[in-house]
Each structure stands twice: as structure tokens, then as C-alpha cells.
Amino acid sequence: MLIEQPQMLRIKKIVDEAKDLKSFVFNHDLKARPGQFIIAWIPRVDEKPFGVAFQNRNKFAITVSAVGSFTKKMHKLKVGDYIGIRGPYGNGFKIEGRHIVLVAGGYGAAPLAFLADEAAKRNIHVDFIVGARTKELLPYLERMKRAGITTHVCTDDGSFGVKGFTTDVLKKLLDEGNVDKVYTCGPEIMMKFVIQLCDEHYVPCEVSLERYMKCGFGICGQCAVDPTGWCVCKDGPVFTKKQVKQITEFASYKRDASGKKVKL
């Protein structure tokens, strides 16, 4: 019998990734695929979904940005504290090709870093493009370097790497040819440009979406998108670019906790 309930896990390690950005590491064999997510529970507070950012044998990690009351509470937790974890949920990325490009905007870097690790293990050449407003907000640079992954950094203010957009770097790589597939996670306006560039170069692309989720397993309907009714938690969060083109609310609006449409 299936039971969807959080399991209390002890925080094994906390890594400061960037400004207001921490990774929480757990000793637990999650058996997730890149692109899948877990839902974290702090008793008497709330539950929130997080993409799996790292997984290795019996360990996994999520990366949490202190942006709201839940995530700020998470940042106050210490090694040895417990939080509830359920999942993994969602479909995950389909890893294929010999040369792939990952385009991460902001905290979209988390699931793509896990994907980069897995692809590198399979001897796939990975170009990891990561963009943020400033240098202090960039995670995983050391980790990617250690894994031998070619990383391209973009900052809005030029404080590190290239001054400009992730899509400028993507265009350059696509123009050079030999890219088999592109994966992206980040702001939808950025991902819209990524899809456009992939279309122009006839390269397949997978997109990871984020919507307000509650149950996480396709029952409550909170994260269903227009007009297809796909549940991002179960039918996604990863969609092909062909599927994303059917989602009319993409880069336009999403629904909040009450179900009201809010502009993106």
C-alpha cells in the first residue's frame, strides 16, 4: 500500500552556496532522477517543494533560498535538526545525446546541477550556463569545476563571468553546432527565449516548470496548467518544448494558493 507521508530526516550537513542560499544534505537513499523534487515539511509551519540538487549513493541535497517565511525558517535550522521529506515526485529529465547544454536562471540551477552530475557520469559533454543578478548569488561553481563540467557564468552587472544574458551564451554554443539537447530551468521569460533559440537551431529542449503545489502527486489540482490541465507536480515538472508551446499560461501567469491567476 502506498503511503504519502513525510519521513523525518536529520540534516547531515549545511553548505553555504551563495548569499541567502544554503544546501541541506541528508543521509538517505532517495533514488531520485534529475528533475524530480521532494516536499519538505517543518512541523507546525508549512510544506514546500524543492528540486533535488544533488544525489550520490546514500546522500541527497536540496538548495534553499531564503525568500519567504518557510525558507527563512529553514535557514535557521542546524546540523542535526530534523525535517520531514516526502517524494521524490515528478517525472524528471530524459538524459540523452552526447553534448548537452544546461541553461539555469537564478535558483533554477539546483535541478540542473544534479542533471549535470548525472550526465557527466555518463560521459556526456555538458555546458552549464548559469546566470544571476550578481556574483554573490551564484551557486555550485566550485562543485561544477570539480566535476569537470564546462561552466559559463553570466551576471546582470558583470561582477563575474560574462556581463549579459544566459541566452547570449546559449546562442553562441548553438551557432557552433554539435549540441544534441538543451535543458532549462529558471524564470519563464528566460526559458521562452531558450525555446525560441532551440527552435531556430532545430535542437530539442526540456523545460522545468514551477507552479504553486500542494499535494505533490496529482490529486488536488492546484498546479494544473491552462489549457491542457496537466499537473506540473505529476505530469511535469519537466516538459518538452513542444508541450510547453501548448501551455498558454507559460511566461504569462500562474495560480496562487487560492487558485487565483497572478501575472508572472
Partner: protein, 302 residues
């Protein structure tokens, strides 16, 4: 063979998506209809927007599902667009669920939602998950249940189903009172309990609301008994809801007295294709036992 009728509204098959499952948006409801539901029920709406309870709001346990969503909804004005989208994109009848905290507001909500022209209106007087806020549900009291029914009936021409709570000593008396007050049908039942799950490692209840309504296989016998009792007491049609997961469960509901069956938690156990699966199983049972119409099975357990 599987056709059934609720107050003159024709359903191509007797499976109805229960309120609160996959019912936030018109697109989600339309998907469920495409997947085979005979009718769909939208998530309950109130006059004003509600954020609902913090998460967890929905979990499962050994024998079923437990939820305390807290009636989150964007408010009736916003839901009209969702229901219109559904009507434009689907042919399966639409049941619009409403709730309120005051008798008068049920009337206002009914009037507003009627603009979206749902085929039926379902009046949720039985949510067990907002007791801290609203007190005991209207469905727990014969007079209150009737008063709400009258308020809704006065404000709409659309047939009205009243959704009852199993958490009462005598559900048949509540059914009789809402029938007398003008209800055109009854949905039975809402979730059971409420119950509670405590995570023993955390030493805290799992649901943010602490308690939650129970649904799924565990409650089926309770739902069947409720439908059986209601069928004995009233003449109006019943949507039998509670733990229906297979075609055999649905047949049990028909025999107890249901004209159609609600499916909610079943989506968790068998996916959104459950509607088609249950229909196939009902049809197979009917062929094997020589039934030609759903009607021939309704109430035969009496």
C-alpha cells in the same frame, strides 16, 4: 448501457468527479472529462477568496486519504471564468460546488455561480475541515441544513444537490429535511471524521490543520450505509460518494440507492483514467449479470 440521469441532466456514464479533486481550474476539469468522467464537480467556492490551510493539506495513510485543504478558492467571481472555460471545452455536465459560513451567503453564492450556467449546483454544507473557523457544519443540524437549502433554492433555477456529512447520528433525517426544503438531489457523503495522523518522530500531527476528513477505501462501507439510509428516506436522486475505486464499488452504490457515483480519492489509487476503468468494470459486471441499464440496479439491495 451506462447512461444515467440526474434531475433531467443526462450523463453518458455514472461516474462523477467529486468536489475538491482536480477541480481548481476549468482546464483541469476538462481534462478529467476527456479522461472519461460522466460529469465533473468543481472545487467549492465562497463569495470571498480563501487561501486555505498551510500544507500539508493532503496525505494518505494505510487505508485511504486524509485532507484538510481548508476550502481554498479564488472567490466566486473568479471561478465563473474557469467554469465558462470548462463549458466551452467539454460536453460532460458540470456540477458547481458552493459553500458559505452564513445561510444568506449560500444564497448570494448560488445566484452568482448560476451566471456560469452549471448543469447542477452542489451545496457543500458538510466540510469537516473548517470547524475551528466556522463551528459544526450545517449538515449536522436538521433545521440549519433545511435553511441553507431554502436560501439556495430561492436564488437559482438550476437543480440543487446538497452534500451531506456522514458524521451525524441520523443522516436520513437530514436528507428528509433538505428534500422538504426543495433540494433536487443529494450527494452522500462528504469526508468522514475528521481524523488525525501524528508523525511519531516529529511528535506532531501531520496535517497543518491537525485534523482532516477521511476518504478512500476505508470509508466505503460508511458511505454505502449512508446512501442506503438516504434512499429509504427520500425520493430525490443520490450521487453516492465515498471510497468508490472499482466498478464493483460503483455497483454496490447503485444497489444501495445511488443514481451516479462520485470518485475523488480513487484518482490517487488508479490515476485519472479511473473513470474509464470503473465504467469498463461496471459494463462488464452488467453484461455478466444481465443488466441492461444502470436504473435496473438502483436500490435493489432494499
Amino acid at each position: 448501457m451506462l447512461e444515467t440521469k440526474l434531475c433531467g441532466v443526462r450523463l453518458r456514464n455514472p461516474t462523477v468527479l467529486a468536489s475538491g479533486i482536480l477541480g481548481v481550474s476549468g482546464a483541469s476539469l476538462a481534462k478529467v472529462a476527456r479522461k472519461g468522467a460522466g460529469a465533473v464537480t468543481s472545487k467549492s467556492v465562497s463569495i470571498e477568496e480563501r487561501k486555505g490551510h498551510p500544507c500539508p493539506i493532503l496525505l494518505t495513510y494505510e487505508a485511504g486519504v486524509m485532507n484538510a485543504v481548508g476550502l481554498s478558492n479564488p472567490g466566486v467571481d473568479k471561478i465563473i471564468d474557469e467554469l465558462r472555460f470548462y463549458k466551452q471545452n467539454s460536453n460532460a455536465p458540470l456540477i458547481a460546488s458552493i459553500f458559505a459560513s452564513k445561510t444568506k451567503d449560500f444564497g448570494i453564492c448560488a445566484k452568482k455561480i448560476s451566471e456560469a450556467k452549471p448543469d447542477l449546483i452542489e451545496v457543500n454544507i458538510s466540510c469537516p475541515n473548517v470547524e475551528a473557523e466556522f463551528g459544526k457544519p450545517f449538515a449536522a443540524d436538521v433545521r440549519m441544513a433545511a435553511a441553507v437549502t431554502r436560501a439556495v433554492k430561492k436564488n437559482t433555477k438550476i437543480p440543487v444537490f446538497v452534500k451531506l456529512s456522514p458524521n451525524v447520528p441520523d443522516i436520513a433525517s437530514i436528507a428528509k429535511s433538505v428534500e422538504k426544503a426543495g433540494a433536487n438531489g443529494i450527494t452522500a457523503v462528504n469526508t468522514v471524521g475528521p481524523g488525525m495522523i501524528i508523525n511519531i518522530e516529529a511528535g506532531k500531527p501531520l496535517l497543518a490543520n491537525k485534523a482532516g476528513g477521511m476518504s478512500g477505501p476505508a470509508i466505503k462501507p460508511i458511505a454505502v450505509k449512508a446512501v442506503y439510509d438516504i434512499y429509504s428516506a427520500v425520493k430525490i436522486p443520490i450521487i453516492g460518494t465515498g471510497g468508490v475505486t472499482t466498478g464493483r464499488d460503483a455497483v454496490e452504490m447503485f444497489m444501495a440507492g445511488a443514481t451516479a457515483v462520485g470518485i475523488g480519492s480513487g484518482v490517487y489509487y488508479r490515476g485519472v483514467d479511473i473513470f474509464k476503468k470503473v465504467c469498463d468494470e461496471i459494463a462488464e459486471f452488467m453484461r455478466r449479470h444481465g443488466y441492461n441499464k444502470i436504473k435496473e440496479m438502483i436500490g435493489i439491495a432494499h
